[in-house]
C-alpha cells in the first residue's frame, strides 16, 4: 500500500502529472477576481475566503478524471482489481485518493496564504482559510473518486466528472467558507462549522472509496 502511495505521488509530481498546473490555475482564478470586482479592498477582504475556496475547489477538480483512467489505459487497473484479495480494493482507492490529494491538492493549500494576501484578507482570516482548506479538500478528492470511477471508461469524461461531483461537494464548500468567516466575524461561530467540515471529510473518506469500488467492479470490462 505504501508502494502504491509513493508511486502515485511520484507520478503526480513528475512531468505530465499536473500538480503544478493545478497551482497555476488556482493562482489565475484568484488573481483575476480583483480585476473583476474592482479595487475595493474591503469588498475583496469580505469575499476573499469564499474566492479562495471556489478557486481551490475548481483547481482540485483538474486531473481528478485521470485518477483511474490512466491506470485503466495501461492495464494497471485490471491488476489492482485482481489484487483485491491481497489489498482490499476500497483501501486501494483510498490510498490513490490520498496520493492524489498530496500530489495535486496539498500544493494548493500551501499556496493559499500567498493568494490570501492578494485578496487583502487579514492574517487571522488567512490562517483560518488555509486550515479549513487543509481539512476540507480531502473530502473533495474522496467524492471525486466516485465520479472518476463512474466515468473511467469514457474517453472525454473530464467535464462529466466535474458536473457529477460538484453538487456533492457543495456542503463541503458551505461549511468550509462559513468556518473561515466565523474566525474573523465575531458573532459567527468558527468551531461548529469547522467540526462539521471535519466530519464531512471523515464521512466521505468511508463512503467515497466504497462507492468508487462498486463502480469500478461493475465497469471492469
Amino acid at each position: 500500500m505504501l508502494a502504491l502511495f509513493l508511486r502515485d505521488v511520484r507520478l503526480g509530481v513528475r512531468a505530465g502529472g499536473g500538480a503544478l498546473v493545478g497551482v497555476l490555475f488556482f493562482l489565475t482564478v484568484v488573481a483575476v477576481v480583483p480585476f473583476g470586482v474592482g479595487p475595493d479592498l474591503n469588498l475583496l477582504a469580505r469575499i476573499g475566503p469564499a474566492m479562495l475556496w471556489v478557486g481551490a475547489l475548481l483547481a482540485s477538480l483538474l486531473g481528478l478524471d485521470r485518477l483511474f483512467q490512466a491506470d485503466r489505459e495501461d492495464g494497471s487497473l485490471d491488476l489492482l482489481i485482481l489484487a483485491s484479495d491481497r489489498h482490499m480494493l476500497a483501501l486501494t482507492v483510498l490510498v490513490k485518493c490520498l496520493a492524489h490529494w498530496v500530489a495535486s491538492v496539498l500544493p494548493l493549500v500551501v499556496a493559499s496564504p500567498l493568494l490570501g494576501l492578494f485578496m487583502n484578507i487579514e492574517p487571522l482570516g488567512i490562517a483560518a482559510t488555509s486550515l479549513t482548506l487543509l481539512v476540507g479538500t480531502p473530502a473533495i478528492a474522496f467524492i471525486g473518486a466516485v465520479g472518476a470511477a463512474v466515468a473511467v471508461s469514457l474517453p472525454r469524461g473530464g467535464l462529466l466528472v466535474s458536473v457529477l461531483i460538484l453538487p456533492l461537494a457543495i456542503p463541503v464548500l458551505i461549511f468550509g467558507v462559513s468556518a473561515a468567516y466565523g474566525a474573523v466575524n465575531d458573532p459567527n461561530p468558527f468551531l461548529a462549522p469547522f467540526l462539521i467540515l471535519a466530519a464531512l471529510t471523515l464521512f466521505f473518506a468511508v463512503i467515497g472509496p466504497a462507492a468508487a469500488t462498486l463502480a469500478l467492479r461493475s465497469m471492469s470490462d
Binding site: R7, A15, S76, D78, L82, A83, R86, D221
Partner: protein, 203 residues
C-alpha cells in the same frame, strides 16, 4: 493445484462469443488458446481471471489451499496493456509491482537479466521500444511468484530471439509446477501443451 473450467460460456456486448468450454489443467500443464480475431480469446482469459463474469459455467482453482484461495489471487494476468507507467523508470515500475503483488520472487535486476534487458533499469519506461516494453512486462511475471500465468498475446511486438527466450521462461515455469493459459495466434514454441481452438468459421 488444478485449474478447472466446466461448460464455460462467455458473451461480449450481449452476444455469445464461445460456449461449452471445458478444460482441466494440473501442475505443469499449459493451454494455448488459438482462434481468429474476435473469437473470444481475450474474453476467455478475462473470464478465467475473474475480471468478467461468465455467461454460464464455472471456473475454479482446486487445491490452492489458503495461500491461493481463488484464480484472481493465484494468477499473473498479462493483458494487452503492459501496466507500466511511462513517467517512472523501469526499475521503479518493477519494484512497485514486486512489493504490491507480494510473494517476491526474483530481484528486479535478475528479472531484467532473464528477459535480456540488463541495462535499461534506470531508463524511463516511456523511452523503450514496443518490444522492450513487452519484455519488461514479462519481467513483471518474474519479480513476484504466482503459480498461474494468464497471458494474452504475450509475444506481441517481440523479435524472434526474444520469443525463443520467452518460450524458455514459460517452459521453466511449467517444469516448476506452474500452469499457463496463453491466448495467441503466433506459435509460442511450447511443445507438449494442449491447444484450445475457439470459434469456427461461423460469424
Amino acid at each position: 493445484m488444478r485449474l478447472v473450467a466446466e461448460n464455460l460460456s462467455g458473451e461480449r456486448g450481449g452476444e455469445s462469443v464461445f460456449e461449452g468450454i471445458d478444460f482441466d489443467l494440473g501442475e505443469g500443464d499449459g493451454l494455448i488458446v488459438t482462434g481468429q480475431n474476435g473469437s473470444g480469446k481475450s474474453t476467455l482469459l478475462r473470464i478465467v481471471a475473474g475480471l468478467l463474469p461468465a455467461a454460464s459455467g464455472v471456473i475454479r482453482l482446486d487445491g490452492g489451499d489458503e495461500k491461493w484461495p481463488d484464480v484472481a489471487a493465484a494468477c499473473h494476468y498479462l493483458g494487452h496493456g503492459n501496466a507500466m507507467k511511462t513517467a517512472l523508470t523501469v526499475e521503479e515500475n518493477l519494484a512497485f509491482w514486486r512489493v504490491f503483488s507480494g510473494e517476491p520472487h526474483l530481484d528486479v535486476d535478475e528479472a531484467l537479466d532473464m528477459v535480456g534487458l540488463p541495462q535499461v533499469g534506470h531508463l524511463p519506461y516511456g523511452y523503450l521500444s514496443t518490444g522492450q516494453k513487452r519484455r519488461v512486462s514479462i519481467a513483471k511475471l518474474l519479480v513476484s511468484y504466482r503459480p498461474l500465468w494468464l497471458l494474452d498475446e504475450p509475444t506481441a511486438g517481440l523479435d524472434k530471439a526474444s520469443e525463443a527466450q520467452f518460450s524458455a521462461l514459460m517452459r521453466a515455469h511449467l517444469d516448476d509446477g506452474g500452469i499457463i493459459v496463453a491466448a495467441t495466434h503466433i506459435p509460442l514454441g511450447l511443445d507438449g501443451v494442449a491447444e484450445l481452438r475457439l470459434g469456427g468459421a461461423e460469424r
